[in-house]
Every structure is written in structure tokens, then in C-alpha cells.
């Protein structure tokens, strides 16, 4: 039974069935939409089934492993496998992508290509989360760049070409460093390239080499994550993209950077990581404050939310840099939790943009009366984003806080400083989020738009936002839902730092 290639099917299914979209008969967009949604749901169900029946939670090793030789010439294997670290992001990917396709129903222009690209991205993301081979990881990493570029440049806002170019240049630039790192690690030391994660994890390098590799990977993931000062593609991209693309970008794509940091930088290069972690923590703390204080200066609604995601990414970086069990668990939890919250916020921003056709906050106002449901959901999710207890963001941030407090690596004074900075971010977050809500919904305004008659969110939009909200509250009340997935793997990673 275990020989059955579950993971290969999961990875290949969306892009394969997606390419059939082009052969569907021309019967309008409806067929395509239904087809895509069905595939997404099927894929999600398949993933859930596989993980339920074939995945043991208490095993920190790789499971469902598959190993096929692909290219003989330089030992390139099709190696897939999941462990506690990647199961969360994969499920998140399935969930968010399904909802994003549901959110993308209003798109009518070129919907064949659009839906194909969504499915291609689906494959690319799951592939990169589940690959166990460095080169395969790199290939999957590059694979999802192209759909994002096309999605941005064809379905975006006014400045979409500028942002798409910026996005592709930034990420492709990062990928160069990733490739350098991959090849460097793969070719180091032995005659034939070793690209397997398991063997690489036990390899050790001279200090200088390890630091060089580390810097290479760090730059690649810093672009993706993003870590300041490599973040400026993100507000532009999010400001211009269609909201279903934004959901994917904020929900999953940003998490790939953080995942890569844990998977490669922490697991493969532990010495360099413990050297670099003070810098990571410093940068993370600065990032929280910096992005949170840039955010109130944004007039554009989506850019403001984009800066809030940058600010939240700071917590992940600090969690990764703390090198404690609790901190890393917090970072993993924050990956999942921000995946939900960020996606939901962008979705709601997009739907309200669909109605009022205004992007600038100072032109808005008084939307609460015509759009009470969007107002409700927006308020709840902003509360979730500012880490209100009972929602997932709070637990994640709290765990990161405890991670940094209990970390034995740092002295008292730096710890106090970092905690202090993080907590200042806690004050700044409500300032920009609440003033955003106030500017959008509170107060009263007469709209001079000719048809100032809005529909409140319909059942589809309500379904999307509620189904994102439920896991947020669920995790917030009972965080073990997610923690139980990753806790053993995290422990295994951290124990490396003490036994080596």
C-alpha cells in the first residue's frame, strides 16, 4: 500500500488536469470555473485523505517518501516526502487555493488561462513544500514564479506591468543565489552530486563555506519572505494584483520563504544558523517596527495590508532565529495563521474594492451601513491580525515571545531589547489596522458614484470569509490542531543544535 505514489499524484494532478482546460469545449466561463473548483476540491480531499490515513503524527522522519531516478546523467531524483514541517503548509496551500479559485469567480477575461495558471501554481507550491531533493526544490520554486508573473501582468491593476516586472526581477534575482547555493551544496566534497535532504542534513562543511552557502540561501529566501530591505516588491505586487492572486501571494507564497529558511538554512546549515541567528533576530525586530510604522503612511488600502504582512513576517524570522522549541513552533504556527489571516484580509479588501471602486483610504468612509457583512468580517479579521486572544495570531505571537524569552542563546539585555521592540510593534499594529477600519467603514459619507447602491456580500463571499475565519478561531482556541503536526519535527530540528 505504501508503494502507491500518493505524493506524486498530489503534485501532478492539478497541473495535469489543468492543462485539459484548454481542450474543454467553448461553453463559456461557467464550465471552466466549475471544472477548476472541482479539481481543487478533489485535490484538497485527496491530500486530506492521504495525510489522514498514511501519515503518523509521532514520527519526525520523512514519510510517504518516493524516490525515482529521473535524469541519470547527474543523479537527479524525483524525491518526494513530507514530514511534520511540511504537512501544515501543504494543507494550507490546498485550502487557500481552493478558496482563491472560489474567490476568482468574477474573473471573465481569459478565464481559461487564468484557471490553468491557478492550477499550475497549486502544483508548484505543493511540489516545493513536499520535495526532498534540493534541485527538485529549486525547480518547483521556479515553476510557481511563472504563473504568478502572468497572473500579475494580465489581471492586475493599472500599474500591473511595472509590478510584475519588479516581482519577476526580484525573485529571479533571488533565485540566482538559490541556484548558487543548491549547486554549491550539491557539488561540495564528493565526486557525484548529493542533493538528498537526508544525506545533506548530516553533512558538515568548513565554516567559511557554510557561511557562504548560508548567505546565498538567506538572500533567496529573504526576497521571498520578505525580509527588509528586500521587501519593496511586495507592496507593489499586492497593490496591483487581483485579490485572488493576492490571496495566493499572501497566503502561501510568502510562507515559502519562511519554510525554506527552516528547511534548508536551519536543517542543513546549523552552525551557520547559530552564527547568524542574532542578526536574524535583530532584523526581525526592526522589520516589525519598520513595516508597522510605514503602514500608516500608505494611502492605498492593499498596500497598507501588505505592509502589515511584512510586519507579521518579522515574528516568523524572530521565531526562527530564537533557536528554541517554543520559538520555532511559534514560527510554524505563525506561518499557518498568517496564511489564513493575510489571505482573508486581501480577499475582503478586494471584495470591498469591487463595490466602491476606490483604492485610497482617504476617499472612503461610511461603508458600514451599506455593507454590514463585509464590515463585520473585516473587523473580526483585523482583530485577528492585531493578535486578539482567541484567534490564531495571538497564540503564534505569544509562542514567539516565549521562545525569545526562554532562549538560552542570548544574554538578558538583548532579549529585553528585542522583546521590547516586538511589543512596540504590538502597539503600532492596532494603530494602522483600526485607523484603516475607521477610514473605510466608520463615519458617514454620501457616495457620489452614480449607482451608489451596493450589494452586501453574497453567499459565495460570505462562505469564503467564514471558512477562513473558522480555522483562525479554531487554532486560536485550541492551537494543538497545528502544533501537534509539527511538534515532533521541530523538536528533532532543535535537538540538532544541542548535540552537534
Amino acid at each position: 500500500m505504501n508503494d502507491f505514489p500518493w505524493l506524486t499524484i498530489i503534485v501532478v494532478l492539478p497541473i495535469l488536469t489543468g492543462s485539459f482546460i484548454f481542450f474543454l469545449p467553448h461553453r463559456g466561463n461557467k464550465v471552466i470555473r466549475w471544472y477548476t473548483i472541482c479539481i481543487c476540491i478533489l485535490e484538497l480531499l485527496l491530500t486530506t485523505y492521504t495525510f489522514c490515513s498514511h501519515f503518523q503524527l509521532d514520527d519526525p522522519l520523512t514519510q510517504l517518501a518516493e524516490d525515482y531516478k529521473w535524469i541519470n546523467f547527474f543523479d537527479f531524483y524525483w524525491r518526494l516526502g513530507i514530514d511534520g514541517l511540511s504537512i501544515g503548509p501543504i494543507l494550507l496551500t490546498g485550502f487557500i487555493t481552493t478558496l482563491a479559485t472560489l474567490a476568482a469567480r468574477p474573473i471573465t477575461r481569459d478565464s481559461r488561462l487564468f484557471h490553468f495558471l491557478m492550477l499550475a501554481m497549486y502544483s508548484g507550491q505543493i511540489g516545493s513544500f513536499s520535495s526532498r531533493d534540493l534541485l527538485l526544490f529549486f525547480i518547483m520554486w521556479e515553476l510557481e514564479l511563472i504563473p504568478v508573473y502572468l497572473l500579475l501582468s494580465m489581471w492586475g491593476g493599472k500599474k500591473r506591468l511595472y509590478s510584475a516586472t519588479k516581482f519577476i526581477l526580484y525573485t529571479a534575482g533571488g533565485s540566482i543565489f538559490l541556484l548558487i547555493g543548491v549547486l554549491g551544496i550539491g557539488l561540495y566534497g564528493s565526486n557525484e552530486p548529493t542533493l538528498n535532504f537526508e544525506t545533506l542534513a548530516n553533512q558538515s562543511y568548513p565554516a567559511a563555506m557554510e557561511i557562504i552557502f548560508y548567505i546565498g540561501f538567506l538572500i533567496a529566501f529573504a526576497v521571498k519572505s520578505p525580509i527588509i530591505p528586500l521587501h519593496t516588491w511586495l507592496p507593489d505586487t499586492h497593490g496591483e494584483a487581483h485579490y485572488s492572486t493576492c490571496m495566493l501571494l499572501a497566503g502561501i507564497l510568502l510562507k515559502m520563504g519562511a519554510y525554506g529558511l527552516v528547511r534548508i538554512n536551519m536543517e542543513l546549515l546549523p552552525h551557520a544558523h547559530s552564527l547568524f541567528s542574532p542578526w536574524l533576530i535583530t532584523i526581525g525586530a526592526i522589520q516589525i517596527i519598520y513595516a508597522a510604522s510605514t503602514s500608516p503612511g500608505q494611502r492605498n488600502l492593499k498596500k497598507r495590508i501588505a505592509y502589515s504582512s511584512i510586519s507579521h513576517m518579522g515574528f516568523i524570522i524572530i521565531g526562527i532565529g530564537s533557536i528554541t522549541d517554543t520559538g520555532l513552533n511559534g514560527a510554524v504556527l505563525q506561518i499557518i495563521s498568517h496564511g489564513f489571516i493575510g489571505a482573508a484580509l486581501f480577499f475582503l479588501a478586494g471584495t470591498s474594492y469591487d463595490r466602491i471602486r476606490l483604492l485610497y483610504l482617504d476617499e472612503m468612509g461610511g461603508m458600514a451601513i451599506p455593507l454590514p457583512k463585509i464590515f463585520t468580517m473585516f473587523s473580526i479579521l483585523s482583530m485577528a491580525s492585531l493578535a486578539l486572544p482567541g484567534m490564531s495570531g495571538f497564540v503564534a505571537e505569544l509562542l514567539v515571545f516565549f521562545g525569545i524569552i526562554t532562549s538560552q542563546k542570548y544574554l538578558l539585555i538583548p532579549k529585553i531589547l528585542v522583546t521590547f521592540l516586538m511589543a512596540i510593534g504590538m502597539i503600532l499594529t492596532p494603530i494602522y489596522l483600526l485607523s484603516m477600519i475607521r477610514q473605510m467603514f466608520y463615519g458617514y459619507k454620501l457616495f457620489n458614484v452614480p449607482n451608489s447602491y451596493f450589494f452586501d456580500s453574497g453567499p459565495r463571499e460570505l462562505f469564503v470569509s467564514i471558512s477562513i475565519l473558522l480555522p483562525i478561531i479554531g487554532i486560536g482556541i485550541y492551537p494543538d490542531f497545528v502544533l501537534s503536526l509539527s511538534v515532533d519535527k521541530v523538536e528533532a530540528i532543535i535537538s540538532n543544535y544541542f548535540y552537534r
Binding site: T232, G297, I369, M426
Partner: protein, 749 residues
């Protein structure tokens, strides 16, 4: 008995189904849920009554046995870190439980009528029940993390309820201000919790105190760090209880509906800070600096609140400043270490202030039918006056509350305030003098409110002169379509409003939900106005409905008799009063009055002293505000009664100074606006500029540079033979020149 304790974890969750059901209902089936309107009020009152019965039972057990009960569950699985949830029932908890549930039930009852006009009726009940849940959770929680969780949740409820009428821009800013200010406190609280965890490795209160005592005893802890942590913890309490530097949110919070001001911003939530300090008193007591600091903050707040309350125009704002001042008394008492007095005052003040707020709500309700729904008008004391004749029951209740707050026996606040004043004499004479004189100020401003509201004649005709926008003001209907209209005759306002309401009910909302009962209520003021317009005389404010009077009446009873729990009836040492009996096992009063049998003579002298101060305040207020004839001059503390004296100018200056200080809220808000808000805006602009120009500028510059480079290369490599030839010839020429130069140089050598 044991059984009850075991299942008392359910206490906070009992009121929870109501907000969940209403929330889900409003999101998914709005029409059906709104049709059920009044039906939802009953389960929320019923569930809260169940909690009340349970908590009364628990506290009877506490009086008899005085036992602690604690139970915990683990929340997260992690090997070296576990969060635990639990509950702790001790005397403090049971007192707070009774307080919250009784005031909560009365407020729910009251707001059924108060909010019945409102479209947000259901939303209001959902928020209120959710607030009850989180407040009950806060007082039953057994560790700091749990306290923090519920602390934030009550803050969020307060945010939602202050911004309940979100179409008012003032309410929108007020709720944001409240949340952000409270977040500053939470920032301190969280850091304090983390620091304590770092020192002790525990969150449980009792473990915490034990470990602390050990550490202090063995001198193993960095005292400075410990002081810092407890200072940070105290910051949380400062923000929540509206103490001096972070008090700015409380007066603005009065933008919320009046029942909310009674429940959240007078009785329960603002007491959470006092609760936290009381809970952590065993920790603070070890550190003398913190105790001194607490009492210092307390005394500053007492004085500041009282002076700021002196000249407020808005009846609710003036009550809010009074709340702040009274909270300062409690904080002072805690700082002095008299745990019992602080809690006693907490209880008595909660009931008296809830009574005052509900009374003011009733006044506002009756004023609204005359002056319109703008809070500038319906809460403006300038426009009130002479309500004695029109709303007699409310007047009596309000008078009882006022007298209680002034400290007139035998009303509730007298006993507790007297106890605090007595203790302050033992603590420090300077503090005692300030506290006593503030008691006089309290009497003054409370009677000012009372006299301005109920004595004299109705001043509604002055509403044209009241504000800056007197000639043209806009009617703000809360939920309906905004029709900004210049009001020519003021009394047309309500007709417009009512029409507006009906209109809105019919076509502005695409789904018409006819709210039974609501329509009737909307119509009733409509009719009175028509009546007025035909007769062309004043319409007078009416007494509120029985549903509103009944909770007020109950609160009057509470105000009259709640002081009894703290009065020792017998001289025997064994027979203590209920409060001491309840608190005795867990208190550690620092004070010297260890013999609990109260010396009656001493008591009487002290009481007569504080009484005389209160009477001086009342007398002054009567002197200044007793209306000879009603005029706006009343407000300015200048009165025509004051005879022209040689030093009149100086006196005027002083009075005007006090007036300005109070009216401008002690310039503290302005200072914060100037420094903090502008600062943050500036910072945001700066970082935005930096982000845009520098970081993004580098990227864009890189792009531009490569673009120009490419263009340049393209231009060079244009493919024209002639330009290649030209270039070639130029270089050949240069080469030849150099060559010949060298050649000739060599040649000449």
C-alpha cells in the same frame, strides 16, 4: 459543595451562547434574526441570572468556609512549555462575580428599553453578553496568561461598544483612542508577564507568590529587574482603570450608549485594573517602591479627575471624570496596602456610579425627545435644568447617587470613602490632605451636576446659543440616510428624524425588516411633536418607562444598603462584618489597626470631619449654581450672585483658569495629540518616504541604470557601417598621433 466548585469553570461560558447565536444569526439569516428582536433579550438576562445565583451560592460558601479552589487544564502540548487554563475561586473572585452579574443584569434590563429604538439592538445585546463572558472569565482566571487573554477581550468589547454608533465620527475616533490607549497598557502587562515568567517560570498566581517569597528571602533575584517587571504589570492596570497618564480614553468613551457607560466604563471593566492590582498585591507588597508608586499615581488621579470634572458641560463626561477620580481613590487605597478599603470602595462605587449613569441615561432619553439625538444637545447640561418637575423618580434616584458619592451617611460610598480617608491619615498626611480636599471637590462637582440638571428652569431655548455651530447645525440620524439639513426651527428636527427613520425603514435598506415595536416607538415622539407644533408651546421631557425605572430603583436599594456589608454591627471582636469575614484569610493589611473592633469615638470624629468637608463642597455648589435665574453664566462659575469686590479681577482670573483647565481637559489630550499622534504620523511619513525613495529608489535606480546602459549599448551597436568606420578612423588617428609623438620625441633625443 465540592461539586459546585468543580463545575464552576462553566461560569464564564454560561452567557456565551447568546452572542454566538446572535452573531451567526445576523450573518447568515439577518431578516429572521431581526424579527426575533426582543426574544433575544430574555435568554441573555436569564443566563446572567443563572450566573448570579451560582456566584451568590459560591460566595456564601466562601463566607462560611473561606476556602480557595483552583483547577487547571493544560492547553498546549509542548515538552518544555505548557500553557494551562484554570479557574480560581477565592473571596476576591466571588465579590467581583456578584458585582458583575448584578450590575450586568440590571443594565441588560435597562437597555432593553433604552436601545429599543435602535437598529443595532441585537448587536448591542450580543456585544454586551460577550462582554459579560469575558469579564467573568477575567475574574475567575487563575493565571496571568488567562488574565491577559480576557483583558484583551474586554478591551475589544469596550472598543466595539464605544464605537457602537459608528456613523458618528466622534465615536469612531473615540473607540480607536480607547483601544490604542488600552493597548499601551497591554504592552506593559504582556512585558511584565513575560518578565515574571523569565524570573519564576510560572504563571499561576499562587506558585508565583510562593516562588517570589523564596527568591526574595534568599536574595536571589535582581531587584531592579523585578521592580521593572512589576512596574510594567502596573501599567496595564493604569490603562484599564484610567489612571493618570493613560486616562485620556475614559471621557471619550462616553460616546458609547449610556448603559455601556454604566456597566463597562463605571462599574466593571474599569475596575479590572483595581482587580489586577488587588490580585497581585502579595507580589507588589514585597516591593515598597511599587507600592509608593501606586499610591502616588492614585493620588494624582484623584486630584486630576476631580479638577477636570469641575466644569464639564456634558453630563456623562463629568460623571466619567468623577469615575476616574474615584478609581484613583481605590488605587490609592491599594497603594497604601488597605486591601479591604479598596475593595469596599470598588463595590459601593460600582453601584452608586451605575445608578448615576443609568439615571443620566434616563435624563438623556427624556431630553432626546426635545432637543434631538445629537449628544452635543441631549447630554448638554446647559440645556437641562428644572427637570425636577418633569422626571421626579429619576431625580430622586440621581439625588441618592449624588449623595452617596459625596459621602453622606448612611449611603454606601460614605462608609468606604471614610475608610480610605482614615487609612490615608495613617499613611501620609500630605496624601490625606489631598484626598480629603478632593472629597470636598467631589461633593462640589456632583452637586453642580445635580443642580444644573434638576434645579431651575428648563433651558432648552438656549440651544441656539450653546455652541459654535449654533446657527446651522446638522441633524445626525444614527443609522438612516444622511440628509444634512439646515434646521430653521429647532423643533422640526425630530419630525425630520422620525420621518427619516421611517423612510429609511422603507426604502433605504433594500430588505425591509419591519421591526415590531420599533415602529411604534419611532412613532411616539413623532406624535408628541405634532402635538407640540399645533399647540405651539414647549413640550416637556417625560419620565422614562417602567423598564428603565425599575433597574434604577433596584440600584437605589443597592446604594442604600450595600454599605452594610462593610459596617461592623457588633463591638465583639468575633463578630466581624461580612466583608472582613470574606477577605480576612487572604488579606495582609499593612496597617496598624490590627484590632478589628472599631473605636467608635475615633470613627465619629473622622466621619464628622469628612462630612463637614463634603458639606462645604455642597454648600459652595449650591451657592454658585443655585439658579436665581437661569443663564449661561452659570457654567462659567461666574455668577451674578458674586458681589463685586476689589480683588474681583484676581478672583476671576483664578476661576477662569480653573475653568479653562477643566474645560480643556487639563491640556493633556492636546499634549498627547500634539506629541504622540503627530509624532507617529511624522514617523509614518518619514519611513514611507524612506521606503519609497531610498530602498525602492535603489531598486528603481538599478533598473533605470541598466535601462540606460542597454540603450547606450544599443545606440553604440546600431549596426551602421559608417559609424563603425568613423570610430575606427578616430582610433587609428589617435594611435597614429601617439605613435608619431613618441617617434618624434625619440628622434629629438
Amino acid at each position: 459543595m465540592e461539586y459546585t466548585y468543580q463545575y464552576s469553570w462553566i461560569i464564564p461560558f454560561i452567557p456565551l451562547p447568546v452572542p454566538m447565536l446572535i452573531g451567526v444569526g445576523l450573518l447568515l439569516f439577518p431578516t429572521a434574526t431581526k424579527n426575533l428582536r426582543r426574544v433575544w433579550a430574555f435568554p441573555s438576562i436569564l443566563l446572567l441570572s443563572i450566573v448570579m445565583i451560582l456566584s451568590v451560592y459560591l460566595s456564601i460558601q466562601q463566607i462560611n468556609r473561606s476556602s480557595l479552589y483552583q483547577y487547571v487544564w493544560s492547553w498546549t502540548i509542548n515538552n518544555d512549555f505548557s500553557l494551562e487554563f484554570g479557574y480560581l475561586i477565592d473571596p476576591l473572585t466571588s465579590i467581583m462575580l456578584i458585582l458583575i452579574t448584578t450590575v450586568g443584569i440590571l443594565v441588560l434590563f435597562y437597555s432593553d428599553n433604552y436601545m429599543s429604538h435602535d437598529q443595532g439592538y441585537l448587536r448591542f445585546f450580543a456585544y454586551l453578553s460577550f462582554f459579560n463572558t469575558s469579564m467573568l472569565g477575567l475574574v475567575t482566571s487563575s493565571n496571568l496568561i488567562q488574565i491577559y487573554i480576557f483583558w484583551e477581550l474586554v478591551g475589544m468589547c469596550s472598543y466595539l461598544l464605544i464605537g457602537f454608533w459608528f456613523t458618528r465620527p466622534i465615536a469612531a475616533t473615540a473607540c480607536q483612542k480607547a483601544f490604542v490607549t488600552n493597548r499601551v497598557g497591554d504592552f506593559g502587562l504582556l512585558l511584565g508577564i513575560l518578565g515574571l515568567y523569565w524570573i519564576t517560570g510560572s504563571f499561576e498566581f499562587r506558585d508565583l507568590f510562593e516562588i517570589f517569597n523564596n527568591l526574595i528571602y534568599n536574595n536571589e533575584v535582581n531587584f531592579l529587574f523585578l521592580t521593572l517587571c512589576s512596574f510594567l504589570l502596573f501599567t496595564g492596570a493604569v490603562a484599564k482603570s484610567a489612571q493618570f497618564p493613560l486616562h485620556v480614553w475614559l471621557p471619550d468613551a462616553m460616546e458609547g450608549p449610556t448603559p455601556i457607560s454604566a456597566l463597562i466604563h463605571a462599574a466593571t471593566m474599569v475596575a479590572a485594573g483595581i482587580f489586577l492590582v488587588a490580585r497581585l498585591l502579595p507580589l507588589f507588597i514585597i516591593i515598597p517602591y511599587i507600592m509608593n508608586f501606586i499610591s502616588l499615581i492614585g493620588i494624582i488621579t484623584v486630584l486630576l479627575g476631580a479638577t477636570l470634572a469641575l466644569a464639564q458641560k456634558d453630563i456623562k463626561r463629568s460623571l466619567a471624570y468623577s469615575t476616574m477620580s474615584q478609581l484613583g481613590y481605590m488605587m490609592l487605597a491599594l497603594g497604601m496596602g488597605s486591601y479591604r478599603a479598596a475593595l469596599f470602595h470598588l463595590i459601593t462605587h460600582a453601584y452608586s456610579k451605575a445608578l448615576l449613569f443609568l439615571g443620566s441615561g434616563s435624563i438623556i432619553h427624556s431630553m432626546e425627545s426635545i432637543v434631538g439625538y445629537s449628544p452635543d444637545k441631549s447630554q448638554n447640561m446647559v440645556l437641562m435644568g428644572g427637570l425636577k418637575k418633569h422626571v421626579p423618580i429619576t431625580k430622586t434616584a440621581f439625588l441618592v447617587g449624588t449623595l452617596s458619592l459625596c459621602g453622606i451617611p448612611p449611603l454606601a460610598c460614605f462608609w468606604s470613602k471614610d475608610e480610605i480617608l482614615n487609612d490615608s491619615w495613617l499613611y501620609s498626611p500630605i496624601f490625606a490632605i489631598i484626598a480629603c480636599s478632593t472629597a470636598g471637590l467631589t461633593a462640589f462637582y456632583m452637586f453642580r451636576v445635580y443642580l444644573l440638571t434638576f434645579e431651575g428652569h428648563l433651558n432648552v431655548q438656549f440651544q441656539n446659543y450653546s455652541g459654535q455651530k449654533s446657527s446651522s447645525f446638522y441633524s445626525i440620524s444614527l443609522w438612516g440616510k444622511e440628509i444634512p439639513k439646515k434646521i430653521k426651527k429647532n423643533f422640526r428636527l425630530l419630525t425630520l428624524l422620525a420621518m427619516d427613520n421611517n423612510e429609511r425603514a422603507s426604502f433605504f435598506w433594500n430588505k425591509t425588516y419591519q421591526i415590531d415595536g420599533n415602529v411604534k416607538r419611532i412613532l411616539s415622539p413623532f406624535l408628541t411633536i405634532i402635538h407640540f407644533r399645533t399647540k405651539n408651546t414647549f413640550s416637556y421631557p417625560h419620565e422614562s418607562d417602567n423598564t428603565m425605572i425599575f433597574p434604577i430603583f433596584l440600584l437605589v436599594l443597592f446604594t442604600l444598603f450595600v454599605g452594610a456589608i462593610g459596617i461592623p454591627f457588633n463591638q465583639d471582636e468575633s463578630n466581624l462584618d461580612i466583608l472582613s469575614k470574606l477577605l480576612n484569610p487572604s488579606i495582609n493589611i499593612l496597617h496598624q489597626n490590627s484590632n478589628n473592633s472599631v473605636n467608635w469615638e475615633e470613627f465619629v470624629t473622622n466621619a464628622s470631619f469628612s462630612l463637614s468637608i463634603a458639606f462645604v463642597g455642597i454648600f459652595l455648589a449650591t451657592f454658585l449654581y443655585k439658579p436665581i435665574y437661569s443663564s449661561l453664566q452659570n457654567l462659567n462659575l461666574l455668577n451674578s450672585v458674586v458681589k463685586r469686590t476689589p480683588n474681583r479681577v484676581l478672583r476671576d482670573k483664578i476661576i477662569n483658569g480653573i475653568y479653562d483647565w477643566s474645560y480643556n481637559r487639563g491640556y493633556i489630550d492636546a499634549l498627547y495629540t500634539k506629541s504622540l499622534i503627530e509624532g507617529i504620523r511624522g514617523l509614518a511619513e518619514l519611513t514611507h518616504f524612506f521606503d519609497r525613495r531610498v530602498i525602492d529608489g535603489i531598486t528603481n535606480g538599478f533598473g533605470l541604470a541598466s535601462f540606460f546602459l542597454g540603450e547606450g549599448i544599443k545606440y553604440v551597436g546600431g549596426g551602421r557601417i559608417s559609424s563603425y568606420l568613423l570610430l575606427y578612423l578616430v582610433f587609428v588617428l589617435i594611435f597614429l598621433l601617439i605613435y608619431f609623438n613618441f617617434h618624434f620625441l625619440n628622434f629629438t633625443k
